[in-house]
């Protein structure tokens, strides 16, 4: 792949990454949200591969393959099975309605752009221009965590957050050391597994996965 072509692919993948992130906030059907997460994971893998081509870093191809398998395949698959177990497919009444959520997302994208300025100055690589894309996904994930009420929505928000962090790692520094990357991926997998089991337990203990019903513990 020539330099210019890899930059075009990188731009395109970053665009898809961001669109999938905001799309996850847009859709109410949780299965669609999980599908968008898979798209985002695939875009992340493409980002890694494009950076590998751009900076002649063959190791990144292997990382890209691993990221693709984990984030576009395994994690969405786990979330989908948890969804099937919980039997509730809609985020019926989010704390913040969808139209306002989308406006908030627009503001968050601009905020990410402002916040990324000191970081974009750091690196001269192709990726650092697109850093706001990763930060925007982090912020949207955080917003989803606080504004949605279904357990699965929180899992989705957490995955958005984590995809964003990984994107920042790729775009700012072409990825963290391999051993750390493997450890982080392993931890992420464990967290999603744990949350999946807890969703099932919540369903059997409370009869719903609505987080508003978690009111046993308070002062």
């Amino acid at each position: 792949m020539s330099g210019a072509a890899s930059v075009q692919v990188l731009d395109f993948a970053c665009g898809v990454f961001l669109l999938a992130g905001v799309g996850a906030l847009w859709r109410r059907a949780l299965s669609a949200v999980i599908g968008l997460l898979a798209v985002q994971g695939a875009a992340l893998a493409v980002v890694a591969a494009a950076l590998g081509a751009d900076e002649h870093h063959p190791e990144l191809y292997a990382v890209a393959a691993g990221v693709g398998v984990l984030r576009a395949g395994v994690l969405p698959g786990l979330a989908r099975r948890a969804l099937a177990a919980s039997g509730e497919d809609r985020e019926s009444e989010p704390l913040v309605n969808v139209a306002s959520s989308l406006l908030v997302a627009a503001a968050l994208v601009l905020l990410a752009y402002a916040v990324a300025q000191p970081l974009a100055r750091l690196e001269g690589s192709q990726g650092s221009r697109a850093l706001p894309v990763g930060l925007a996904s982090v912020l949207i994930g955080l917003f989803m965590l606080v504004a949605r009420r279904k357990a699965l929505s929180q899992v989705a928000g957490f995955l958005l957050l984590d995809n964003g962090i990984t994107a920042v790692a790729f775009l700012a520094a072409a990825g963290v050391p391999l051993l750390v990357e493997i450890g982080v991926s392993f931890d992420l997998l464990l967290v999603v597994l744990v949350l999946r089991v807890l969703t099932v337990r919540m369903q059997s203990a409370f009869g719903t996965t609505d987080l508003d019903d978690l009111r046993e513990l308070h002062d």
Partner: protein
């Protein structure tokens, strides 16, 4: 030998975890966990002695690194884990007696506790910030099912909140680590050394200040979440009150401190890169916010396990204040506080678990006259609370005085005064609640169990209290180690 010294505290509990997975929890294997915990303590002592004498060292090409602080923390982990593992036998037996326990549940409990110890030891001896993150996040996933061990509605709720809030907080720390890594690579550090504390501190002046500031703020916020510091603290009272008592002891006694030690190490880098003011301001805000939350929620507290959890927050806030002061005296006092609080809180939680088992309630108002009904248990619990309140024979008195003196000396007069005013509120609240539980007439007129057997059962807890008293009266075994282990920042101006 060095490599072995650093690998042993990870491998031994991991092997014990594997052994429990194969053999299950039974009479013959019950002491295995305690033995592995004791070994962590011994390794900690050996590491401390060696590093105080010869200085720190790296192993496995920098992935692991030993220094006096690591040795000290391993000693605390080992000591608290011995208490908690010894108490686990009684806890599991009690569960079984109540008809809740079963074989697979006990096996899972034992496997996860040992894995938890391995992850904490890994976080302590890791030489790479990325690996530390992986280990700390591993403690979250490993303890999730321990928090949810009881499978009640409350336990599921606590486990969910625990995993989500801690994972999100720690993910923010990962973002900070990634940014710090990018800044370090930009400053010319190699891939292997860009997340190494010593290398980072050595090249701190070359780090981009704006990016480093953002990274440090995220790291303090993220590891602060795991250390129970505000604003991401809300998981703590839920998780600590729902987890089995020995697990609460481990989480409150050492896990909080282990995460906090990462902040201490990060502070060294940050102070070298940005000057002392930045992290000091962050820690002061976190300390005062944490203390305020803890003091206010302690006043009207109705649940004694939650009371102990908020007391942990109060002590973490105090440690943050000491770290903000940042002088060698302050940091030595913070480390002494880590040790004293770890043991004291372990005893308090373990005995609170016994109270819960005996009284079948965790509400303060439903437990009265405990001293008349079960004098040994009440004595242990009362003594542990005295430790936590900072009464003189125990080491927390010395460390609190040390932190207060250091705070005033560092020019933090007002924040220190405010913090100790809040401590006083917490002191009064905890004291009053505990008195209500222990004193008063015994409504049931139950007979005290045979005191000889009770004393034997409480032996680990009582000896832990004695240890706290000894290091409180004479800090000689630790004084040298504490001053060597304190991660003092090299002043900015002299670099």
């Amino acid at each position: 030998m060095n490599t072995l010294l650093l690998l042993a505290p990870i491998v031994v509990p991991a092997a014990a975890s594997g052994a429990y997975l194969v053999l299950g929890w039974r009479r013959s294997t019950a002491h295995l966990g305690t033995a592995s915990a004791a070994l962590i303590f011994v390794v900690g002592v050996m590491l401390a002695v060696r590093t105080v004498r010869d200085g720190g060292f790296d192993a496995l090409s920098g992935w692991l690194s030993g220094d006096p602080l690591a040795g000290f923390l391993l000693m605390v982990i080992g000591a608290v884990a011995v208490v908690a593992c010894a108490a686990s036998r009684g806890y599991l037996a009690g569960e079984r007696a109540d008809g809740h326990g079963d074989g697979p549940g006990e096996r899972r409990y034992a496997v996860l506790v040992q894995a938890f110890l391995a992850a904490m030891a890994c976080a302590v001896v890791a030489g790479n910030l990325g690996l530390i993150w992986v280990a700390i996040e591993a403690t979250t996933t490993v303890t999730a099912f321990l928090v949810g061990h009881k499978r009640s509605r409350a336990a599921v709720e606590a486990a969910w909140k625990y995993v989500v809030i801690c994972s999100v907080g720690i993910a923010l720390a990962l973002l900070g680590i990634v940014i710090l890594y990018a800044a370090a690579r930009h400053a010319g550090l190699s891939e292997a050394s860009a997340l190494d504390f010593d290398a980072l501190a050595g090249h701190a002046r070359r780090l981009d200040p704006a990016a480093t500031r953002m990274a440090i703020a995220l790291i303090v916020l993220g590891f602060g979440a795991k250390a129970g510091l505000a604003p991401l603290h809300s998981w703590l009272p839920d998780a600590h009150s729902q987890a089995p008592a020995p697990v609460s002891a481990l989480m409150s006694g050492v896990l909080l401190s282990v995460s906090f030690s990462v902040i201490l190490r990060t502070k060294q880098v940050a102070d070298a890169a940005l000057g002392a003011g930045f992290v000091r301001a962050l820690l002061l805000i976190a300390a005062l916010a944490t203390l305020t939350v803890a003091a206010l929620l302690l006043i009207g507290q109705r649940d004694f396990k939650r009371m102990l959890a908020y007391s942990s927050m109060e002590h973490m806030g105090l440690m943050a204040l000491g770290a903000a002061a940042g002088t060698p005296l302050a940091l030595s006092a913070v480390l002494l506080h880590i040790a004293g609080h770890g043991l004291g809180k372990a005893v308090a939680f373990c005995s609170s678990g016994q109270i819960l088992h005996a009284e079948h309630t965790s509400r303060i108002e439903d437990v009265t006259g405990l001293a008349a009904r079960a004098p040994v248990l009440a004595g242990t619990f009362g003594a542990a609370v005295l430790v936590l309140l900072g009464f003189p024979p125990f080491s927390l008195f010395a460390s609190e005085v040390g932190i207060a003196r250091a705070g005033f000396a560092a020019g933090l007069g007002w924040p220190t005064a405010a913090a100790f005013a809040l401590m006083l509120v917490a002191f009064a609240a905890i004291g009053a609640h505990t008195l209500r539980m222990l004193a008063g007439p015994d409504p049931l007129h139950g007979s005290a169990p045979g005191s000889g057997a009770a004393l034997r059962a409480q032996a680990p807890l009582i000896s832990a209290l004695l240890v706290v008293a000894v290091i409180g009266v004479a800090a000689w075994p630790l004084a040298h180690l504490l001053s060597a282990a304190a991660p003092v920042s090299i002043p900015w101006s002299t670099r």
